[in-house]
Symmetry: C2
Subunit: 428 residues, 2 copies
């Protein structure tokens, strides 16, 4: 296929005519599809419906240490839930705190607590003139929303195929005491599906921060969310890497079962050093009498162990894979060689990242919306919602069916072509 | 019975001998009883065990508005959960936000948010030199722990039989802009079981605070926790009273089902004006994608409506009443007329409050502990754990059985007598 940049004005105009006609047609179809958020589909959620039968009125609702899960107490999680998370995340159970229904509130609380109480005795961040966070981008909009909410200045770090640009990270972290943290989705990153290379993880663990209260916020949301049996990304375990590098307290890791069992009714955990967890527990003991232990018990009794989770994630992959492939095969076929966009090919996670020509993302998202296909807002993947190139678009294939994804992708491709042609015509 | 203060030194010494012998006997029994916390007993929790059968793999897990409760979304609670809480708390459903598993974290979050973001546009409290809270005492230790955690200065307000000393509250609130809040347990208060009089509620609602961001923290934890069918306290509904008095935004109300269904696996809610709730939602949308909606659905499907809750609370009362009566009958019989203590006679809630002679509470609690009966730490019911009179002791009859409560109370009475006799002997 001929790249758009090689086309003459006449050729471009003729293509535009065709595309406009097709777009009018598409609008007439009354599509109503949402590929904006990384939400599980109903059929994916059906896969754990039998979890609802795990605990009944006949069940013994005691944890393995004899604790009655129906009652108050047990601040940081029942032992078997800690063990399950520990197996899944490849860390010792004593480094795990099991919390409530999702990991986002744990991250929010962690930032909030740092603002009001500091980190292991440091000055509360709210008392400082300036607090900065490094934000590898494209990244997760809800991370950026938290730091923005607390008035933390966000510095965009480019994402490379190996993870964040570590030269830039190392320089900023070591030189600027105001830099207190970095947001990371280290495996099947949101939205690119990039998994950090071993070198990236080691360099991350070996950072020499100017600020003693600098922390890596390691949101390992997609640790077990592989799409393929035979091609799975693995990353180095960050806690032990930090310890090896002499930075045992430098990382907070987060994970949850939101995209394993039920979104919003899962169990979530924080993983860190004893010193960090002790500080967290000290604050937690003021904040709560304990999280929902019955739901922790339900999860452990249902999945039993890490093998149970792996078996279940294989079923989820069968559900998700066709949707990813519906997108990718069409992008390959329709946009390959046109020079008007590039996209990632993740082996796991929940997203595909698309980079349009500079200055085209907002227009593409708007055109899709006009024809009934909702995408994540352009710019959302960057701090302050500001993509300097107006280029990145996050595609979330999880919620619609594979057939719907095919239709949505076709419309998306049409919009990419249309906006790109117009861009070329403008510049000629 | 003769009051201890009328006894001669010889009489006191002779009584002390008897008491000491009895105490040594009691220690030999190897008691191990806990009446320290307001925890439900296992048999009380058994009353809702059939809630575990409410949702099964066959259930339609959709809210009445069609929303799939298994998925992300619905920030502030499913409509039917809002309705259930609204009925129970006698407020419009639109004034209700349903949150997670307990109300303590909502209160913590509310303070924390005020620290970092202020209240409806006010200066964040963390930026102020001084923030003060009024703390009616004896009160709930976990309230005081939250304000202490955030470095908020606590001012003790005496509790009268009608509720907090409103003369003092009115004066402090209207004169001091640093006073930003007051902790209230308005019905069957912790630990005294006092319900605020109509006049107290009206005066509370009519406060004229110097600080625009002053808020009443109305922890209506025991709203439906009556011990008797025929003697039930009712208090005025605070939200409408505040509105009537021209203070629509002055109150945050909190409640939960922790002591209705399962402690720590219930549902909890915040009730306030639209302006306040909008501000809360603005922050919540950063903090969470939503609370556990499946558990909200489970609660509504189980209780169905307020009548369902009332019927259940009647069963709970049958469970709790004998325990309260085991304590009260013994206190009446053994301590009545001795002039060495007074106690409350609550018609609901979870506690009995005992006032020993000045300077005796710590010694009594220590003596009980030595013989195997754990009480809430003396002083815990006051800000900073400091009961200026060292007099108040909180008795929590809910966890042990009625028989155990009888044994524990007998030991308690023995310790009260022993410490009091020694006090008299010291002063003679």
């Amino acid at each position: 296929m001929k790249s758009y940049c090689e086309l003459s004005v006449e050729e471009l105009k003729s293509i535009r005519e065709e595309l406009l006609a097709a777009y009018e047609d598409a609008k007439g179809k009354g599509l109503k599809l949402d590929m904006s958020r990384g939400k599980p589909s109903p059929s994916q959620l059906d896969l754990t419906m039998d979890m609802m039968d795990t605990l009944t009125s006949e069940s013994e609702l005691k944890a393995e240490n004899g604790f009655d899960c129906r009652n108050y107490g047990v601040l940081d999680g029942i032992p078997e839930a800690k063990n399950l998370i520990a197996q899944m995340m490849d860390v010792p159970a004593e480094n795990v705190i099991v919390c409530g229904n999702a990991s986002l509130p744990i991250m929010y609380d962690t930032i909030s607590r740092s603002m009001t109480h500091g980190v292991l005795g440091s000055t509360p961040w709210c008392k400082l003139d300036k607090v900065k966070f490094l934000c590898p981008a494209p990244g997760y909009d809800r991370h950026f929303a938290i730091t923005q909410h607390f008035g933390i200045e966000m510095i965009t770090i480019p994402m490379l195929p190996t993870g964040p640009d570590m030269d830039m990270v190392e320089k900023l972290v070591s030189e600027d005491e105001a830099v207190k943290g970095i947001w990371c989705v280290p495996k099947y990153s949101n939205p690119q599906g990039i998994s950090y290379s071993d070198e990236t993880v080691r360099r991350m663990a070996s950072l020499k921060p100017a600020a003693k209260d600098f922390r890596i916020f390691w949101d390992n949301a997609y640790a077990v969310h592989h799409l393929y049996e035979d091609q799975q990304d693995e990353i180095l375990e960050i806690l032990s890497e930090c310890a090896k590098a002499g930075n045992p307290d430098m990382v907070y890791e987060f994970c949850s079962s939101s995209k394993i069992s039920f979104a919003g009714s899962g169990i979530a955990a924080m993983i860190s050093s004893q010193a960090n967890l002790d500080a967290v527990r000290k604050s937690m003991t003021i904040q709560t009498i304990g999280y929902d232990k019955i739901n922790q018990l339900r999860h452990v009794r249902y999945f039993k162990n890490y093998d149970g989770i792996k078996a279940h994630m294989k079923k989820q992959a069968e559900e998700l894979r066709p949707k990813f492939e519906a997108v990718l095969s069409r992008l390959d076929k329709e946009l390959g060689g046109l020079g008007i966009g590039s996209w990632t090919r993740p082996r796991g996670g929940y997203f595909i990242s698309f980079d349009a020509m500079e200055g085209c993302a907002k227009a593409i998202v708007a055109k899709c919306k006009e024809a009934g296909v909702v995408l994540t807002g352009a710019g959302a993947t960057f701090p302050y919602g500001n993509d300097p190139k107006d280029s990145n678009i996050r595609i979330a294939p999880s919620y619609p069916s594979a057939e719907e994804m095919a239709m949505a992708t076709e419309l998306f491709i049409l919009c990419v072509k249309l906006v790109s042609v117009e861009k070329f015509l403008e510049s000629k």
